[in-house]
């Protein structure tokens, strides 16, 4: 193997393809636990592992192959119905999958592959061997029959069972007794030669001998049927096919004498069909006896040959003249012997074209149903191509640039109209071109965004496994309901969402849901439910994680907040329930009594929040004490381009995300007031804090001017007014990230990025969540 040099791309392909299979495996295994009898599912799981193993073996990932092989053999035994998958099997299989995942990480990181836990591998392998159980289904030939040198009684005494089963062993008699009494000796002396075979064929030799003997038994039954008028056509067809199979096998092993005999039998079968002749039987018996003799020789690694040339000649010509009447010990129309093999072959299709439905092919044939339906799916799957993320990234960036250019063209067109530049015709055309460019660009932008959209199932799919493991670890009973997994969001958002969601789910399991006993005491069902749902809501996606546990204990949250010095008692007293709940999002806050290995991993809810905010999302809580808690996350469909309201502050222009703007008002004097020296505004029946944009962005006093407009921003349920000097208009802005240092220190004020305006200038984009932090921190300082 070592001389094979593979393209690193192959390894990359492997990681991508097998990585997807692995993700699916996790889900499928958890589903399997609830439906251990689902053969389709078992087959799919088996195939996935099989594929991973196959590729891995080429790439010489021996540690991976090792564990995959063990898992595969366990699954193989399960799908062969040696046993039904139980919980401990699941644990083993999941452990194996986990190991493979680790090994994938190792490959990505360029490390040596983690070695599998030998105990798991050994247990899986033991399960694979079925714990002594036999293989009643498709692996019958290798498992049971291969061990016995398959001597079989004549068909007359053995009604054929539907599948090749372990036959009654006849002690050390490696010959098939062919009924009819034909003796090979009549042809002349046998020559024996040692058998020389290349290793690949030698490996199969024992299997071949078993198979030949099986075929002979079947041939025997068919030949017996040739004597009865009614069953003859069917028997002849079946005979032809069996002989054809035998011929193919013999050709593969290059056993010319056996192959010639098989061809002779084929000819005989054809003749028997067209000529309706019984006397075909004795030569057929002799041919079979010869084949049996050869097979017996093969099992001892010997080639046995007799002079058969003249005998073979009789096959074509001799039928019609051979005088011996058919003599057979078999009752002619034994229905049990006839039923199986001939039904397939008695169909109108001519025997010479070897009908596909081989009577022995039952094991393999059963997978072939529902093909047309699945075919369609497979076709759809093939209609996709893999594109490097980097290329999509570049494409999106270019679209971003295009949007900026479009904005400038639009601005120029507006300018042309406003200034009455050029002829009437020119102005109309400029307007048309600019409008057309606008439409095409938005369509293009949408199309490109769609290429980056991925269904949330990509991350949701991992949670059943997570919850299963957590429930087991915590001794809780948890039912996870997932809804709306097909909802699509931008790839970069998906990537950022994974960890926060896991954290939130862990929290729900660990802190939210009570133990079965506590639940029973509270009059709830012992099984707690976590409902993870996603849905599209305008320009963003809403994700809810709802549990029916005990809900947040705001008293304890308050205590903790005071203990940790986050707030004073006085401040706490002023806070609403909702505000108290939100304390958990503050840095350094964790109510867990002790660090548990489930959710106390040193990352608090503040990390969750900041991760969500990184993708321009918002997070909030709906607490229903005693009944449960719902975490509500809103994320934009994409993070790269957004609609913004451009506002002027002094000489500067800022972009405010349109999705955060509730309304824009020009407050009258009597609407303005101050509480605790903080400016507020009365808006209808609410009071909201006001922030001066000029202060927020630290504009020098000389550049500050009157700020008559209040842009009312919302974050979840909260509202704040941002006072600005001018309203410029709505624009699509392309978010350009700021220098990391700048955004981390917040030196430029609450800004999340920058963008190029339609007039070519640069504007900062207001970071709404940060702005709320400032607004809310202010009065409590």
């Amino acid at each position: 193997m070592s001389q094979m040099a593979f393209d690193p791309e192959l390894m990359q392909d492997f990681l991508t393809e097998s990585g997807e299979l692995l993700d699916q495996l996790d889900q499928d295994l958890v589903t399997l636990e609830t439906a251990p009898g689902d053969l389709e599912l078992l087959n799919r799981i088996f195939r996935a592992l099989h594929t991973i193993k196959g590729s891995a073996s080429f790439l010489q990932l021996t540690n991976l192959v090792h564990v995959a092989h063990a898992a595969e053999s366990c699954l193989n035994a399960a799908r062969n119905r040696v046993f039904v998958v139980c919980r401990s099997d699941m644990d083993l299989l999941l452990a194996a999958v986990d190991t493979i995942k680790k090994q994938f990480d190792d490959i990505r990181e360029g490390r040596d592959l983690t070695r599998a836990d030998e105990e798991v591998v050994a247990k899986l392998a033991a399960r694979g061997e079925g714990g002594g159980a036999d293989h009643p289904h498709e692996s019958a030939p290798d498992a049971a029959v291969a061990t016995a040198p398959a001597a079989t009684a004549p068909a007359a005494t053995a009604p054929q069972p539907p599948a090749p089963e372990c036959d009654a062993p006849s002690p050390s008699e490696p010959e098939v007794q062919v009924s009819g009494g034909a003796s090979p000796e009549t042809l002349g002396a046998a020559q024996e030669r040692p058998l020389v075979l290349d290793p690949s064929k030698a490996d199969l030799l024992d299997l071949l001998v078993v198979d030949v003997n099986e075929t002979l038994t079947k041939l025997d039954a068919q030949v017996a049927q040739l004597t009865a008028e009614a069953s003859r056509p069917g028997a002849a067809a079946a005979l032809h096919e069996l002989a054809d199979n035998l011929n193919k096998t013999a050709e593969f092993f290059e056993f010319a004498p056996m192959s010639r005999l098989a061809q002779g039998l084929m000819k005989l079968a054809s003749e028997a069909r067209s000529h309706a002749i019984d006397p075909a039987v004795p030569p057929a018996r002799l041919a079979m006896a010869l084949i049996a003799e050869q097979a017996a020789g093969l099992s001892q690694r010997k080639l046995i040959e007799r002079p058969i040339d003249s005998f073979l000649e009789t096959f074509t010509g001799a039928m019609t003249q051979s005088a011996t009447p058919a003599q057979s010990p078999t009752p002619a129309a034994s229905p049990s012997a006839q039923a199986k093999p001939s039904t397939a072959a008695a169909a109108p299709s001519p025997a010479s074209t070897a009908p596909a439905a081989s009577p022995t092919g039952n094991a393999a044939g059963d997978a072939g149903e529902d093909k047309s339906r699945e075919k369609h799916d497979a076709k759809a799957a093939e209609q996709t191509i893999r594109v490097e993320v980097g290329r999509l990234e570049a494409l999106l960036n270019l679209v971003g640039e295009l949007v900026l250019q479009k904005n400038r063209v639009n601005a120029m067109s507006r300018h042309i109209q406003a200034m009455n530049l050029g002829s009437q015709e020119f102005r109309e055309q400029a307007g048309e071109v600019s409008g057309g460019l606008d439409r095409v660009t938005s369509d293009l932008q949408l199309a490109v965004m769609k290429t980056r959209m991925q269904p949330l199932d990509k991350i949701f799919g991992k949670y059943p496994r997570l919850i299963r493991d957590l429930a087991a670890k915590l001794g809780k009973k948890i039912n996870l309901v997932i809804e709306g997994g097909e909802t699509e969001v931008d790839k970069s958002v998906i990537e950022q969402l994974g960890d926060p969601l896991i954290h939130l789910m862990r929290n729900s399991c660990d802190h939210g849901l009570e133990s079965p006993a506590d639940r029973a005491a509270a009059g709830k069902s012992e099984v707690g439910t976590i409902r993870l749902s996603a849905s599209n809501a305008g320009g963003h996606v809403e994700i809810r994680i709802a549990d029916d546990g005990r809900g947040l204990n705001t008293k304890r949250i308050s205590q903790k907040a005071i203990e940790k010095g986050l707030y004073t008692q006085a401040q706490i007293d002023q806070m609403s329930e909702q505000e108290l709940c939100r304390i958990i999002f503050l840095p350094g806050f964790s109510t867990a009594e002790k660090i548990s290995d489930v959710s106390g991993r040193g990352v608090g809810m503040d990390v969750v929040r900041s991760n969500i905010e990184k993708v321009k999302g918002t997070i909030d809580l709906i607490n229903d004490p005693g009944k449960g808690c719902t975490v509500l996350i809103k994320i934009p469909l994409t993070v790269a381009i957004m609609s913004a309201m451009m506002v002027g502050v002094g000489p500067e222009t800022y972009a405010v995300p349109l999705s955060s703007i509730v309304e824009i008002v020009r407050p009258e004097k009597d609407q303005l007031a101050s509480i605790n020296q903080s400016p507020v505004m009365r808006l209808r029946d609410t009071v909201l804090p006001l922030l001066q944009a000029a202060e927020l962005f630290s504009l020098p006093a000389s550049k500050r001017d009157d700020a008559p407009f209040a842009v009312v921003l919302s974050l979840s349920e909260r509202r704040v007014g941002l006072m600005v000097s001018r309203l410029i208009g709505q624009q699509e802005v392309v978010i350009k990230p700021l220098d990391e240092e700048l955004s981390r220190t917040g030196a430029g004020g609450p800004v999340s990025g920058a963008t190029v305006r339609d007039d070519g200038g640069v504007s900062l984009i207001v970071d709404v969540p940060r702005l709320f932090e400032l607004a809310e921190a202010e009065p409590r300082r």
Partner: protein
């Protein structure tokens, strides 16, 4: 020589393609399962087919059976694993001309291809 690769794993197809490329074979058509292959053989007219056993929709054995109904001559090599070896005879009876066990070296594959072709040439 025109070779068709039938395997549901893109990785496996790429690996086999690279092995075949090392042997100087570059006219290659791929199919992701038996059904897909049946729909492509007509247009491609392969001179050799490498077919995997375990595939969704239509597995290798089913493909061989279906393919052999209309085509008795094009050489077929079954690509199998150690664990499937026990069933190779079944595939041979269905019309496979040879088999090769994964993982294989370019040498082994080359040997199997030559072996298959020369045996067929002898038989013809």
């Amino acid at each position: 020589m025109k070779i068709m690769l039938i395997d549901d794993s893109k990785t496996m197809r790429n690996i086999q393609r690279s092995v075949l490329a090392q042997l100087g074979h570059t006219t290659i058509e791929e199919a992701c399962d038996g059904q897909d292959a049946l729909s492509k053989v007509g247009a491609f007219q392969p001179e050799l087919i490498l077919v995997d056993w375990n595939m969704p929709n239509m597995n290798g054995l089913e493909f061989v059976k279906a393919f052999r109904q209309s085509n008795k001559t094009t050489p077929l090599i079954m690509v199998t694993t150690e664990s499937e070896k026990a069933r190779v005879i079944e595939a041979i009876k269905a019309g496979v001309n040879n088999y090769v066990i994964k993982p294989f070296t370019p040498d082994l594959l080359s040997q199997r291809i030559n072996e298959t072709l020369s045996r067929l040439a002898k038989a013809a």
